[in-house]
Subunit: 620 residues, 2 copies
């Protein structure tokens, strides 16, 4: 990995910062956040502005350029990668270390008095704008919205915004028509006395209209906005995409059944003007719901008196609780995915001894096997295929220059998943194809104990996921070990592999309570820098539990694993497991054998089936 | 318990709300918080304004009176008690239930447009004022500071503010002189570039000056404020209290050794004017530290540009981490306290069959036995002595009209503690003097499993207490049970029995990380309304742990019980315990027998000693 040379780019950007074509007065600093106008986690190439200006292409990071300095903030996952991808013009700001200043503190410490700090209001979230603006103002500076993006000005070969083909999903996949979703949304609006709802998150818009796109790699979404009123629906999208008659029929564009279900379509770019017009035409009593993570630009169109910012939108919550059809789809997708993975592991066992399987070729094989499954659409995130020390890099992605060969001597960690039309998968298995050391087995077993502790936990209705996080760590903690990431994230249904508003993490206190039908991952790990990484990840469904008692009629919940891929017994020190834990492993493996075995048989996948049967023998 | 009749009081208060003697325009609602000007949890009789107006005397609750309504918010601990103590003029607002509106939402839903909501700025914390004010303003209303307290106006026989004798503590109790504490505070101020620190919490002021009072029952504190500058110390206190030569000597009032350690004393009431003068005499660059929980009145004296609000003061943090002398004192206090309790339980066993021991007489006996111990000062909170169904009322306090007789047929729960000059105690034991039912034993055992899970937990340095809360619940949850309170609170050293900034609760996310030397309680419970209550509480000390590994050199912590009172084996279903849990019980009981046994022998308390030895036999 050689760093990107940024001398000339920075010179041009600084020229832009002084150029009064873009603002009334020059700005002394320019912030380049990593998101797009929809605060997406994964972004399209045209939105990779932070990567363009500094070279660092990780998923999280903010660049700030002043007349004299250029600095980039990222977190512990990316310290190494960022230091390799950025040249000497850039200072790496290691977030989470005590000595690292916040962006605000750094700006305040280096800026001349009364400085103006610019940012594109479309790619900074309203809540971030508010915090940054308050900090700068209190130090005598100001945060300025720069309408022309100064990176785009110097980015000569910036790609076009994607406009891929849209796919409409029928009731057999969604379980609920978009009309019913609109009706449910309006009922919530009525209850909270809100007249308008502005949808800006791409996965929420895709979910609401039962549409999917392919504008962003790994995420089946499309660039759009929506404004839903009590009698109107406005959809903002590249209008060329709506030519397909099946699509027009799905959205009832030409012959709406009911007037309040008539969708008016507008060009993607016109959302600003149209929202302005909506607000202007109504009294401030007509409240507008918008997520506080929506772009500052769009949020500020709404006069403050109209605005009702919310941390999570009603769509985000509704989408998180999967209906029976979605759950069925997710189960089917996970069975197909397990079939592909069992086949992969059988293949690896056979091929590794030949010494020619690499991290990249293993990942490619996994993709190939998945792509043979029905309704496969693509991967749900870049496959983490990592051998030995690479496994300790939590967000590793094999590149030609880091690619290691799988062997009988090192631990192999593969974290991968796919998009199928009926569901999204995300699974991590850690395996040894030779003989693991006692220490590797010990660590693996602690991680497994944590995985089981979460998966088998019974907890009251209304419990927030962050209260379960310590269960995943207790066994590691008892031996003085830990892992520095959360334990689980929400998973979409043929949507983003990471979604809110629920999760299992010590960091999240604003998460919504878990409820039956929510789907999250359960993925504790342990990472020994320079030697190996361990992670055991299943996607699990929140289901009602029926314990002996029912305190205050609250009801209880637990998890049902959707992922059905054997957990390698060879890596376990079964003496460290309690009887309950051994029972859990055997019960889980029985389920893998029965459910996935039947599918493999049906598909005639003999080698995988043999591997599955061998790997799911009960432990004693 | 019969409710307080409030018709006439509410009429008078509403008259005050309309009386323009107190403000420029009438107010439409008046908020009566439960705290005093120092945001104390326990308050002096003169500050019990919320109790005076509505009758409810629990420790937490806020009353709001409008022209038409009167409502009082409290939490799950007090639903029953509040409903019994308030008459029909009051609506009980059950906090934590989904259908219960917040105070803000309720006000907004019932107030006429442009309403003015009044509150005494001295008894509302700055952060609460801010939130309430923001919510009301956004709905077109306003929050108004009413300087005359409208409750005091109608409270004819309001008691005087107490001014009890002060006691100075020597190094043998504190381990650190007040001068050293001032020096440490100033070092933190220098580091954070702060010029002034305003101390408003009574326990912080008592701790800082190594002084104790008795102004508030159970809490050895005294009404005071302090302003510490880099060269000056201002103490605001009823000056009559400083006449004692020993006290003057302790504070070096007449002959300070060093000029920057010279304490200037001022009348308690002059803090407002003096703080105003301090701020006026200095530039806004001189920052002032004040807790964001300090009173709104005092906070707003400091011009916004000077103000640096903090969630916890440096004193709060320093006080929480006990030094070696304080830990020794706490240990001694707990041994004395255990001696008294063992003696009590032996006495109860003998007396209960006679049918004459009541909740009140048992509590009195406990106090009598404690008072025989060296350096006893008083109780640390009102004794919860509860039989059968009364045990399910979490913050129960026996009154003549609720007083039940202890018997061989019901569970007895006693939660009690004392102040000794060397330390503060707080212990809960749940016992049966006949034969407990299988269900009572089962529930007790789940609670015990939770208690042990926290007490024996090993966790990394830097872990916040709230991450341990679920450990206490896992066994209960597995059977569909739970308890609706936190698991632990910080405990002061001859100071308040509840103190911040650490604790163990699912509700607290702003708690400070646990560190060695901190002292908290570990008190899971289970409550079956109408039948019984179970709680097992020890005070525990955070100590370093030495597990097998040491990930990233972070170090590990665990707890050491300071409370040394046997946990009744008769209440346990030992079959539900794991071997590890049985070992913990035996190890704990061995420690009780050895440490407390030696003290009982020394004191010649034969009956208690016999009881102790019998109750600490190992289980198998």
């Amino acid at each position: 990995m050689s760093p990107k040379i940024t001398v000339e780019l920075l010179r041009q950007l600084r020229q832009g910062m002084r150029n009064c074509k873009y603002f009334s007065e020059p700005i002394q600093a320019y912030i380049v956040p990593s998101g797009d106008a929809h605060q997406s986690e994964y972004i399209a190439p045209c939105d990779c502005r932070r990567e363009f200006i500094c070279g660092f292409n990780g998923s999280a990071g903010t660049a700030i350029v002043t007349e004299q300095y250029a600095a980039m903030w990222t977190d512990g996952r990316y310290f190494l990668q960022a230091s390799q991808q950025m040249d000497n013009n850039w200072t790496l700001m290691k977030m989470g270390l005590k000595e690292t200043p916040s962006q605000e503190d750094w700006l305040i410490s280096i800026l001349p008095e009364n400085s103006r700090v610019g940012v594109d209001p479309w790619i900074i979230a309203a809540d971030q704008w508010k915090n940054m603006s308050r900090a700068l103002t209190s130090a005598g500076h100001s945060l300025v919205a720069v309408q022309d993006n100064l990176i785009d000005v110097v980015w000569m070969d910036r790609p076009e915004r994607p406009s891929t083909q849209l796919r409409n999903l029928g009731l057999e996949y969604t379980g609920l028509s978009w009309q019913d979703k609109i009706t449910a949304l309006r009922a919530k609006m009525t209850k909270r006395k809100v007249s308008w709802f502005v949808a800006t998150a791409l996965d929420e818009i895709a979910w609401l209209f039962n549409l999917r796109g392919a504008d962003i790699e790994y995420n089946p979404v499309f660039f759009a906005y929506a404004i839903v009123g009590m009698n109107t629906i406005r959809l903002f999208v590249d209008l060329k995409r709506l030519a397909d008659p099946a699509l027009r029929d799905h959205l009832q564009l030409d012959s709406p059944c009911k007037p309040d279900m008539s969708i008016r379509t507008y060009p993607y770019e016109s959302v600003y003007a149209e929202l302005q017009a909506v607000c202007a035409a109504h009294s401030p009593k007509d409240k507008v719901w918008i997520c506080d993570k929506a772009s500052c630009a769009l949020t500020q169109v709404i006069p403050k008196a109209h605005r009702t910012p919310i941390p999570y939108t009603p769509l985000c919550l509704a989408k998180a609780v999967k209906n029976a059809t979605e759950i069925q789809g997710m189960k089917k997708a996970h069975i197909k995915d397990a079939t592909a993975l069992c086949e992969l592991f059988a293949w690896l066992e056979k091929e590794i001894p030949k010494g020619i399987v690499t991290e990249i070729s293993a990942a490619d094989k996994a993709e190939e096997l998945r792509s043979q499954q029905k309704d496969f659409v693509g991967l749900s995130f870049p496959t983490i295929s990592s051998v030995g020390p690479n496994g300790a890099i939590i967000h590793y992605r094999p590149l030609p220059e880091t690619n290691r060969t799988l062997s009988l001597n090192e631990v192999y960690l593969i974290d991968s998943g796919a998009q199928y039309v009926d569901g999204t998968t995300d699974v991590t298995r850690t395996m040894h194809f030779g003989t693991p050391s006692a220490y590797e087995k010990e660590c693996f077993t602690y991680v497994l104990k944590g995985h089981i502790a979460v998966s088998a936990a019974v907890f009251p209705n209304g419990t927030k996921g962050h209260l379960l996080d310590s269960f995943a760590r207790a066994a590691l903690w008892e031996s003085g070990l830990d892992y520095l990431h959360g334990t689980g994230h929400g998973v979409g249904c043929f949507l983003n592999v990471h979604e809110g508003p629920c999760g299992i993490s010590y960091k999240t206190f604003a998460d919504e309570p878990l409820e039956a039908g929510m789907i999250v991952s359960d993925e504790p790990g342990y990472y020994e820098d320079g030697s190996f990484g361990i992670r055991i990840e299943n996607v699990v469904l929140v289901v009602p539990a029926m314990p002996k008692y029912n305190y205050r009629n609250r009801g209880s919940l637990t998890f049902e694993p959707l992922t059905l891929v054997p957990i390698q017994v060879k890596m376990m020190n079964t003496e460290l497991l309690t009887q309950k834990e051994r029972d859990w492993v055997n019960e889980y493996h029985k389920m893998c054998r029965e459910v996935v075995g039947a599918e493999m048989e049906r598909q005639g996948r003999k080698e995988g089936l043999e591997w599955l049967i061998r790997e799911t023998q009960p432990i004693v």
